[in-house]
């Protein structure tokens, strides 16, 4: 089954990270993505631009309302995601624990349901 691994973290940690460490972490991400691909379970994923670039959209009374910023102001922000296909939650947990940001942020694991956009078109 497919799981979304949502990567949450405090953006200021990244902003204040010494350059050498940022480089190391990014390299760890590259290695991690390669490991997912080599295992044949990678279905997608990306880093997301900072919440400063976020726009939130709501439709109320048939009017589109856009607001600057994320849906919720929280201490930890969604910074990126992976979509993987594995047999069980246990496997997903094992992969989630290897995401470099798991060491200082948190990874939320969400299973996908049968309602997938690509299967509906």
């Amino acid at each position: 089954m497919q799981f979304m691994l949502l990567i949450y973290g405090d953006e200021t940690i990244w902003a204040n990270m010494p350059e050498a460490e940022t480089k190391r972490t990014m390299q760890a991400y590259v290695e991690y993505s390669k490991a997912l691909a080599a295992s044949g379970i990678l279905r997608g994923g990306s880093e997301l631009a900072s919440v400063g670039a976020a726009t939130t959209v709501r439709v109320r009374n048939a009017k589109v309302l856009t607001t600057d910023g994320p849906f919720m102001e929280t201490k930890e922000q969604l910074g990126g995601y992976y979509l993987i296909e594995v047999a069980s939650l246990d496997e997903a947990i094992q992969w989630a624990a290897k995401i470099p940001s798991a060491a200082f942020g948190s990874i939320e694991i969400r299973p996908q349901t049968a309602n997938q956009a690509l299967s509906q078109v």
Binding site: L89, I93, P111
Partner: protein, 413 residues
């Protein structure tokens, strides 16, 4: 008569059959419904046909058939495009007869599944009691003094999470086994403690959670005889349980260890626990449950309170602190230090714990402090702490005990 036999069968073999069905059909709800069908059919058929030679085998076969029938009916309702996966997954029923071979034991997988760390502990507990102990939703609600719909909702939610997240009914990887086992042991010990402390209410129809936890401990020990910590937990629970009769007086007030009538302890349970613990310790894989059991065993084997081997208990607590560095364990270690070496040093340690604020609302901190102050003759200070403990305690038996202490100290003045 038949209903009683079925009840007993359900208690003894229900968990095992359910575990098998869950593993085969990968659905909690389907397995539970199918098992209920089988019991209903037994009530219908056995009076006329007689009880089969292998009742558990009969129930298993009938439940499997019912599960398949239910699956087929579901498939007919769902459109054909969605069906092929489920249809090809359906187990092959050919060659199954009612004199079935022994039922493979899938309960270990079921325990690990129910206690999966991705589930919240209240849900782990409810699901374990439901599926492995065969408690009804109503019984679980009674046991935790919560409204039945709350328990029902908790169970529905947790089953949904299991179904949606693909929590596996496979055993954990060897490299995760110990961590996952810890979560199973924590659930069982939680159930035991709930029963032991019974912090709220008194309801005669409450199922005995201590008995259920010991049942689970025995089951797990049977399934994993080589795991020293499993034996340690079982020994620990038996040692606590052995004092059940002695720890309350005729009025329901708590009787502390020191004042208990030792001949009222259950010596069969103590002997069983000691044998379990001795065998476990030989495996040289120490862990927090074995150490706690060893401490309880030293208390159990002291002929009188005065003869308690506090020095060894003190050493065991420092070992336990390495495994479980929690403020409560630290408090117990401080008491052991006071009893074995120096009351003043023990009190100083408790003061440090108190200042850290970690046990602010914990009545036993003040009870322990009151007790040590009383032993060192500082009666006024002792009374203040007994009073604090009484105000924080929620259990009626404990409050009675503390009340009595306060009264005694007032008389001594």
């Amino acid at each position: 008569m038949l209903a009683r036999a079925l009840d007993a069968l359900q208690r003894r073999d229900g968990g095992r059959v359910l575990a098998l069905l869950i593993r085969q059909f990968r659905s909690f709800d389907l397995a539970e419904d199918a098992l209920q069908d089988a019991y209903a059919k037994a009530l219908q058929r056995w009076p006329a046909d007689g009880v089969p030679d292998n009742p558990a085998g009969w129930i298993t076969t009938v439940a499997r058939r019912s599960a398949l029938d239910r699956l087929k009916r579901q498939l007919r309702q769902v459109s054909i495009e969605c069906a092929p996966v489920a249809a090809s997954d359906a187990p092959d029923m050919a060659g199954m007869d009612e004199e079935a071979s022994p039922i493979p034991d899938e309960r270990l997988r079921l325990i690990f599944m129910c206690c999966h760390p991705a589930l919240a502990q209240p849900a782990q507990v409810a699901l374990t009691l439901r599926s492995l102990c065969g408690l009804t939703t109503r019984e679980i609600a009674r046991a935790f003094v919560e409204p039945e719909p709350t328990t029902a909702q908790k169970l529905t939610r947790v089953k949904r999470k299991i179904a949606q997240t693909g929590i596996d009914c496979e055993l954990p990887d060897p490299n995760e086994f110990v961590a996952r086992l810890a979560s199973v042991l924590a659930v069982i010990y939680f159930v035991f403690n709930e029963g032991y402390v019974a912090s709220t209410g008194s309801d005669l129809l409450r199922p005995n959670l201590c008995t259920e936890a010991i049942r689970l401990g025995r089951l797990l020990h049977d399934l994993l005889p080589e795991q020293a910590e499993v034996a340690g937990l079982l020994a620990l629970m038996l040692l606590h349980e052995s004092r059940r009769e002695a720890r309350t007086d005729a009025h329901g007030a708590l009787v502390v260890l020191e004042d208990q009538v030792r001949s009222n302890w259950n010596h069969d349970q103590i002997a069983e626990a000691t044998a379990l613990l001795d065998a476990a310790l030989l495996r040289r894989r120490p862990g927090p449950y074995q150490i706690q059991a060893a401490i309880a065993a030293l208390h159990a084997h002291a002929p009188t309170a005065a003869e308690t081997d506090w020095l060894q208990i003190c050493a065991l607590y420092s070992g336990l602190l390495r495994h479980l560095p929690t403020p409560v364990v630290e408090l117990n270690a401080a008491v052991a230090l006071a009893m074995s070496t120096s009351i003043d040093d023990g009190l100083k340690w408790i003061d440090r714990i108190e200042q850290s604020g970690a046990l602010d609302q914990y009545h036993l901190l003040h009870a322990a402090k009151g007790d040590l102050l009383r032993r060192s003759g500082r009666m006024d200070d002792a009374r203040v702490h007994y009073q604090k403990a009484r105000d924080l305690a929620t259990n009626q038996g404990e409050r009675c005990y503390l009340e009595r202490r306060i009264l005694e100290l007032s008389k001594d003045q």
